[in-house]
């Protein structure tokens, strides 16, 4: 069943409501999400609709779940064994928000080996000429990114991601402002997951970081050890 190609009424505002309600047809949903990634006002619209529509659940009576539900959840997420020591001390080591990604990353990648050597990567685009050189210094735990070729377009900030393995979701490392180069200092636990990992950059809508990459990656590259003599 095809829908009218043009917005019928209310334009993007109605589309945001339809999106939150799940009424947007699948074909338009993709286009809407693409538009959403670059439009802070539309993002705010979606958040506002989500807040309002969530109140539709207010009249639903509370029901205590059976006790076995919590037991099953805890077994699934904590496992039967005690937490590894680093999981217990982690809250005291690193900042709150960053810790989530790191703890999770470390948990899933199982990497706790210190990077013995410096690392480097060339992030190259599937198409176009975006090329970034990445270099990680283990001594200072800093990751430096330098654009090559045409460099990063000035009005187009990028967000840098770490992908620790095939099944690992990207973890945001931060924004790359349009400049000659950017140096990021990585917390130890994050630095430890670098060897063998992929680096990737996505377009950062409005220069703001997002929880998940928006759109396809602009460029990707694998970190490999720098040969030391």
């Amino acid at each position: 069943m095809t829908e009218a190609p043009q917005p019928i009424q209310g334009g993007a505002e109605s589309a945001a409501a339809e999106y939150v309600l799940g009424l947007l047809p699948a074909s338009e949903r993709v286009a809407f999400e693409a538009a959403l990634s670059g439009d802070a006002i539309l993002q705010q619209d979606v958040v506002t609709w989500a807040e309002y529509f969530a109140t539709l659940t207010d009249p639903i009576p509370e029901v205590a779940p059976p006790p076995q539900v919590l037991r099953r959840i805890e077994v699934q997420i904590f496992g039967a064994k005690r937490a590894p020591w680093w999981r217990q001390v982690l809250p005291y080591l690193v900042g709150a928000v960053a810790a989530a990604g790191i703890a999770w990353l470390t948990l899933t990648s199982g990497l706790l080996t210190a990077p013995a050597s410096d690392l480097r990567a060339a992030l190259t685009a599937q198409e176009g000429d975006l090329v970034l050189r990445a270099r990680f210094s283990s001594a200072s735990s800093t990751l430096t990114l330098t654009p090559e070729a045409e460099g990063v377009p000035p009005d187009n900030p990028l967000q840098l991601w770490l992908i620790a393995g095939a099944d690992a979701p990207p973890v945001s490392l931060g924004l790359l402002p349009p400049s000659d180069g950017t140096t990021l200092t990585l917390p130890p636990l994050l630095a430890e997951s670098l060897p063998g990992a992929m680096l990737a950059v996505s377009t950062a809508p409005d220069g703001a970081t997002t929880a998940a990459p928006v759109g396809p990656f602009r460029a990707t590259g694998q970190l490999t050890p720098v040969e030391t003599n």
């Binding site: 009424q9 209310g10 339809e18 506002t48 807040e51 969530a54 109140t55 997420i77 928000v97």
Partner: protein
Amino acid sequence: MTLQDEIDAMIAGVAMGDRTAFRQLYDRTASKLFGICLHIADDPGLAEDALEEVFQTVWAKAGLYRANGTTPMTWLITLTRDAALDRRQDEPPSDEAETNGQSAPWDPAVRGQGRAEAELLAACLQELPPERAVMLRRAYLEGVRYAQLADEAGMPEIGMRTVMRRNLAQLRDCLSQ
């Protein structure tokens, strides 16, 4: 500290792998969220599955929720709604309409700061034709789509969408005042 702040702090604790915070968050919100699961999935076993998925997601992604931009309770409710809708079995539409037009007391106790929004939305929904307000609730709470709404109303899907979009624009104007 408001309830929203408390839940916010619990989620921050969960983000750091704090199991006590996780248990507190569960104790504080599970009944509300399980009620939603039961209402939407309409089956105790499926509702339990949905709730398990929600709290697994919370444990895995608590550190990311701020990027989502919503208040913590809305984040949890949205996760719950999506998980429960995924499990909801399609039912004959005739059973649905009766139960959803009814008015129930607005009791946003767990949502805390959401009270003003709940009252404003309720007031603005009253300005819509009553059957449209019901449709809108059913879209959110039952996952019905335009095709089904159009079918029930005996009108073409595109026509249903046109009027619904007009009503959504009207709703937005009312909420923005």
